[in-house]
Amino acid sequence: MMATFAEPERMYALVEVGPHCVAFCVDDVQIVEDAADASTSARACLTLHQMLGVPGPLNPNPRVLVLASPSMPVSVHVGRDMRFVALPDAARCPLPSFLADWARAHGWSALLRYAGTFALLADRQRLAAMVVAADRGAP
């Protein structure tokens, strides 16, 4: 009798901001905490709204997602509506070549098929570098 194995899955934190859905691989996330409890003073910090260019205030008491970065941990303020989902590796699809260079430069590494749509998968290192640069006021 042949043994069957389930397709390997990864956990992702999914955040919806305006019309966009952003995914973070949980392996890249150090801590998720409420903004009220977060001690972000020692870390570079940015809201996901700013990064996506979406106007509008954050929900009251948003969550803070601390990314494990090689140089220093950075914080990304996200909305309250964060979900954790397990998706098979087949859900990950490469960026179409038409926009791949652009997307990588903006901190996205791939797309995730999820619930009939696509989420942008964050590139931890690139995103961390962007957060640090923005926090220092770099253009």
């Binding site: 996506l52 260019g53 699809c93 179409p96 070549s97 038409f98 926009l99 652009w102 749509t117 942008l120």
Partner: protein, 160 residues
């Protein structure tokens, strides 16, 4: 030696309308024509990129041809236009992209001598991306230089 019955050299085109102008695409580059479905918005996109469309589960970036070519919208009934809008999926060696257009008329086979050097086509950025013009059944149409459109429309790291 060519056979006496060999047909004259001809070109197969897909005729369509984007905004207020009639266009034609070399049919060899056309993969399929889809009904417009919901686009997945991408952050910080230039106005000519509608977003991603799922074509059998694969993400395809969609370019609004009328916006990109700056040819303006036709003054037709918006409900009628919503009914006829289509996404033409095209591919070349590097890219697979959807072109959003207001109407697809169908295939058109024209003898090579009907493909004329562009002289009459004007308007917006259209002239720059016209490789030939044809006098088709619906009047003058611009045959798009698709690789040039793709190269100019694609998103580069410095895009806004």
């Amino acid at each position: 030696m060519p056979e006496a019955s060999e047909p004259a050299r001809s070109t197969l085109l897909l005729a369509l309308r984007a905004g207020s102008v009639h266009l034609a695409l070399t049919a060899q580059m056309v993969e399929e024509v889809c009904e417009e479905s919901e686009f997945v918005a991408l952050p910080r996109m230039p106005a000519h990129v509608c977003g991603l469309m799922s074509v059998r589960g694969e993400p395809v970036p969609v370019v609004d041809l009328a916006r990109f070519l700056e040819v303006g919208q036709d003054a037709c009934d918006p409900r009628e236009e919503a009914r006829t809008r289509r996404v033409v999926v095209i591919h070349d060696e590097t890219y697979r992209v959807g072109f959003l257009c207001q109407r697809v008329f169908g295939l058109l086979r024209l003898p090579a001598e009907r493909m004329l050097r562009p002289e009459l086509i004007q308007g917006g950025r259209l002239r720059r991306f016209t490789q030939a013009e044809v006098d088709g059944p619906r009047g003058l149409a611009a045959v798009l230089d698709v690789p040039a459109v793709l190269d100019a429309a694609r998103l580069r790291p410095a895009s806004p």
